[in-house]
Each structure stands twice: as structure tokens, then as C-alpha cells.
């Protein structure tokens, strides 16, 4: 598939994700305007900002769910603009959602096995006849999915229906499922939302762990300052669709505009 994709720039590992002057308008409303962001390979970057700042909209444009009105998104030197979401995932971009989007009525195991669908090496005819590569591949993908669940401590839950899992485990399952698509870049949309402090603690450990184990680049949106400040190497702050600041956690905490737009309202809680 890579053959027909337009190579815009030589791939430079300092720019696995390179977003240039990205803008989107819904009718008259410019939800995001002139958004720039560069993420190096292996980076753990954060995107923060008050509600409605346009963070999730940026994620939706990267993953192809929204088409930007202007600008370009380069992933490993190739433009993602105009590509359908499934192609973008197959190129190595995975994401989770702010309001968890599991396949609620399916088992935990099937949730992860679905993520492997694009790597399945048997045809529809082989599936129906149960001949050829079917048995081997099916066993292989089941075992890989189980191994994945084990990494996330969900191996004993594999036959449970996803919607019956407790909240924290649903979050973990969603991350496991995203990782099963074998991404290079993982987008996490408010992974700590709705978690208690203990769960947040283990989530932060988990994020570090998966980045190192799966050699990933991670971009995450977060509301809880504690998480972003604790783990992100570089932070971009958005407000009203625009970037208002960028820098390390320390820089951000002392930035006038950020305090005014965001932190000021929360009177320093959790910082």
C-alpha cells in the first residue's frame, strides 16, 4: 500500500508526526486554527487545554475522522490528509477515545482480536472452508491477543463481556486494543478521565511501560494536570483552537497565558 502514498518529505525520525498550520472550520466556527506540532520518534508529548479548546478535534483530524480545511499532517513523512481512517490506522496510528469506545457486547478477547483483523493472513474463502491458513492463523492471532491481555492483566477476563468490566479495566482494554493494531504512534484521549488517584498512579506507570515495551511515540490529551506534568516530556497548550504555549512541564507551569487560560481557573490544584 505504501507504494502509492505520496511521500512529501524525507522521513526524519525527529518528526514522526509533523502537523503544519492545521485548521478546521465547522460552518463559521474555526474549531482549530494554524495548529503546529512536531513529535519526535519515541516522544511522550502532551496536549492540554480547557474544555472546547479543540484538542479532540486535532485527534479526529490526525485519525481521519475529520477532514481539515487547511494544513497538512505528515506521519513518517507521508501526508495523512484525505486518507480514510482505516488506512491511517494501518499506517501505524492508533488511538483511544475520551468516552471509551469498546465493542460493548463482545468478549474482551474478541475486542482485541478485532484489532488484529488487518493482520489476518487468510482469505474469506479460507475462513468459510476452514482450509488453508485459517486454523494456524486463527490460533496465532488468538494467542497474540491473549498475550496482549496478559500484559494488561486482563488474561482472566478474556471471556467476559466488555461492557461488564469495571471502568478502569475498560480503559486498559481500550489501550490494549489500540496497541494490538501495532501502531508506531499512539494517541490517548484523556486516558485518566474518571479514574481515582490510585488508578491514575497505575495508569501513569502503564503509559511509561507501554512506550518502552512497544517502542512507541505517544501523544496524549489530558485534563488532570498531575498526569501531564508527571509524564509528558513536552507539552502544547491550546485555547480556543489555537496554540497558546509550548514547552516542558516547568515552562508551562510558569507561563502567564497558560495560567490565565487554564491553570488560573483551577487555583493550582494538583500542580
Amino acid at each position: 500500500m505504501s507504494a502509492n502514498l505520496r511521500v512529501v518529505a524525507e522521513y526524519d525520525s525527529n518528526r514522526i508526526l509533523d502537523i503544519r498550520r492545521l485548521s478546521i472550520a465547522f460552518g463559521g466556527l474555526r474549531a482549530v486554527s494554524d495548529f503546529d506540532l512536531t513529535v519526535p520518534e519515541g516522544g511522550l508529548y502532551g496536549l492540554i487545554g480547557p474544555n472546547g479548546a479543540g484538542k479532540t478535534t486535532v485527534f479526529n483530524m490526525i485519525t481521519g475522522l475529520y477532514q481539515p480545511t487547511e494544513g497538512d499532517i505528515l506521519f513518517m513523512g507521508r501526508s495523512l490528509v484525505g486518507l480514510p481512517p482505516h488506512t491511517i490506522t494501518q499506517m501505524g496510528v492508533a488511538r483511544t477515545f475520551q468516552n471509551i469506545r469498546l465493542f460493548p457486547n463482545l468478549t474482551v478477547l474478541d475486542n482485541v482480536r478485532i484489532a488484529y483483523h488487518t493482520h489476518v493472513g487468510y482469505s474469506l474463502a479460507e475462513a468459510i472452508s476452514r482450509l488453508g491458513r485459517f486454523r494456524h492463523q486463527e490460533r496465532l492471532l488468538t494467542e497474540r491477543a491473549q498475550d496482549f491481555l496478559a500484559v494488561f492483566g486482563l488474561q482472566d477476563r478474556q471471556l467476559e463481556i466488555a461492557k461488564n468490566l469495571p471502568y478502569g479495566e475498560q480503559r486498559r482494554l481500550e489501550i490494549a486494543r489500540a496497541l494490538a493494531t501495532e501502531p508506531r504512534l499512539l494517541l490517548l484521549d484523556e486516558p485518566a478521565a474518571g479514574m481515582n488517584p490510585a488508578e491514575v498512579e497505575s495508569l501513569m506507570e502503564l503509559i511509561h511501560f507501554i512506550r518502552d515495551r512497544f517502542k512507541l511515540t505517544i501523544l496524549l490529551i489530558e485534563h488532570q494536570m498531575r498526569v501531564v506534568m508527571g509524564i509528558c516530556e513536552w507539552i502544547t497548550v491550546m485555547d480556543f483552537g489555537q496554540v497558546i504555549a509550548r514547552g516542558t512541564a516547568r515552562d508551562i507551569q510558569n507561563d502567564e497565558r497558560v495560567i490565565e487560560a487554564y491553570l488560573g481557573k483551577r487555583t493550582g490544584r494538583g500542580i
Binding site: L83, F103, R139, L141, A150, Q158, R213
Partner: protein, 440 residues
Amino acid sequence: MRTKAHLSPWAPTLFLALGVYLLVFLAERFGLMTPYWYQVIQLAAITAISSLGLNLIYGFNGQFSLGHIGFYAIGAYSSALITKDLAANWSGTRIGPLAWMIAGQVGVLVVLFVARALRLGTVRARLAGGLANYLKPYEAGVLVLLVTLALVSIALAAGVFAAWGLQKVLAAIFQVFLSLPQGIARSVVFLIALLTGGALAALVAYLIGLPLLRLSSDYFGIATLGFSVMIYTALQNSDQVIPTMKGARGMVGIPTWTTWTWVFGALFIVVFIMRQLVHSSYGRAIISVREDEIAAKTMGIDVAQLKATAFAMGGFFAGIAGGLYAHLFGFLHPSTFNFIKGFDPLIIVVFGGLGSMTGTILASAIFALLIEGLRVLLPRGFEDWRFVIYPIILLLIMLLRQQGLLGTTEWGWLRAPLPPERDIPTPDRAAQARVEEQEA
């Protein structure tokens, strides 16, 4: 290592299926069953085939379709067109149209395949995006249109060429069939007619599915309703184009070749195919679209393609069922394919449980036995009350069990096979973290 839990219990299911088959077969053979009930049972199985197709579309893939009766009609009429002529005049003169019908379908498939191979969609999107920087919108539009036309012409030319060549080959092959003993030749022709009817229905489903399946479920339902009304109107006026279809007067003289063995065989194969599909990665992907379409997209699943495939497959099953129906009574009338009738499979699918093959089969049987059984049970003069009793039962079922009789539960071999039992190695995260700390 294969453990016991991994083996699906196929044996009881197979024995039950064979038992039902033999029961009906022997009862008919030894005159224990009136021809009327024999037809009712066949009709129930035919309805089950069609409803399984709808369950794949609506129950498993989550696309609310009201156009299913249209595919049923396409299968019925196209298979009847093939067999009627041959049955009336058993000679080679009628082979041409049949060969064209199959070759034409292959031609359309070639067009689609070539268009896909040329990456029409991607080329257009890329071109439009690339040109936007250099040209005015309408200039870019014209250029994109020209490129599209050029690519489409290549695809069309390939399709016409393929169809033309294939027609010659097929006509020659079919001549051979006619030299076979008539009984065998008849079965072969019937099989080809059924498959052609199914394939035509599948092709139409795929072609209308590609644009329509972009709509969200409710709108898709209305659009497919429009499709089934279109088919109905076309059938009413079909004699204007193909005189043998007889339009609103009804098509007569179709050979009554459908037997319990044919119907049961078709149902068995359809259930087999569907079970294998559903419990494979493709089936899981189809179900994931029902569960959460956006999440499915971000799992790398080509949702549009998959929906069209499931829709075509459901249409195929409906087409096969239609073909069997046409050869059951030997008579087709457009009113059979009125959209009101189209609710029958929908009722069965919802009644049996969306996403349950067992439920659909069970519901088809109950549906037929209920309507016909009430006819026997109710006192003379009160037979029409069954259309009061049956909706009340539907109401009660929906009030008391929204998920239908079985929900998504399956029975026997139709159940999902359990994953093989094995010791899953648990990586010791704590240990890993300690190692990292030391390294850091």
C-alpha cells in the same frame, strides 16, 4: 494441543438437522403429510434462508435494511427466467440469454475490480487535494472529472471484453449439459439458475450498497425501502421490457423443481457458510461495525467495504431463497414482493433475536407454524382471527423480551468456539519496572 472445550459440539447439531430432514422427507414420501403442509414447511425453510441473509445485514452488521424483499424478488425472477425457457423448450436455442446473464455479471465484477485496482477513489482524492493549490476549483473539478472518466472507461472496456469472451465460453459449456440425461441436466440447470439469481441479487446489493451504506442506519432503512418499492414497480411493468415476465399479470409456467431436499440443502449450506463466516476474523469485523462503527474504523477496518460485502452476502442468500420460492409454486406475481411482505423477514429476525442464527431459524419455523397452525386450530369462520392473534403475540414478545427469543445466543455448533485453553504467560510488570529503575 486440542482440549475438549475447543471442539464445537457439531455432532448433535448435525444429527438434529439430519433428523428434521429425514422426518419431513419420509413423511412426504409415505403420504403422512398433506401436500399443503409439505409446501408450508418448504416455505418456512425458504423464509429462514432469506431471513438469515437479513440477520447478517441487520443483526450482525447493524445495517437496518428494508430492501431485503427486493433481493428476494431479483433472485426469484432471474432464476425463473433462466429455467422457464429451458423447461418449455429443451434445446440449445435458449442457451444464449443464460450465458449472457452470467457473463454480464462477471463483466460488472471485472469493471469493479479494475476500478479498484486503478485505485479510483484514492487517485481522485489525491488529485483533488494536489490540484487545489494550483488551479481554480472548477478547473480542478473538470480535470478530476476527465481523469475519472478515463479510468472508468478503461474499467468498462475491460468489463465488456470479459463478458463478451465469457459468454462464448459459457454457451459452449452449456451445450454439453443438454446432452446429459434430462434428470441430471435439469438439476444442473436449476443449480445454475439458483446461483445466478443469488449472484445477481448480490451484485445489485453491492452496487446499491456502496453509496447507500454511507448513510446512518435510519436513513439507510428509508433508502432501501425506496429500493424495494422501485423493484416492485419495475416488476409491475416488467412485461414492457421482457415479455415473458408478464408484469402485473404474473409470471406462469415456471417449472416446479423445488423439493424439500433442495430447500433443506440450501438452508444447510447457507447456515454452514454463515456460521463459518461469523466465527472468523471477518465475522468479528462485521460485528464490530454494529457495535461501534467509529471504533471499528480506528481498528483499521475498511468499514465501507465490509458493509458492502455483508450486504451483498445477505442479498445473495435472499436471491437463493427467491429462486427456490419461484420454483416452489411455479408462479410469480409482483404482489408477493410488495414491501409490506418485506417486513416478514424483518419480523422474523427481530423476533428470533438480532445476531442469532439459531433464533432466526427457530423464528422462521414458529412464524410459519403459527400462521398455518392457527388456521387449523381456529374454528371454521374464524380463520382470519389469526392476523389478530399473531400481532398480539408479537407485541407481547417485544414488550417482554426486547432482545427477541434468543438475543444473541446460539445453540450447538452455531456457538462461538472457545479459545484453546493454555497457560498464558504473565509478564511480571513489577519485575520489569524494577529493572528499569536500576537502569535509570
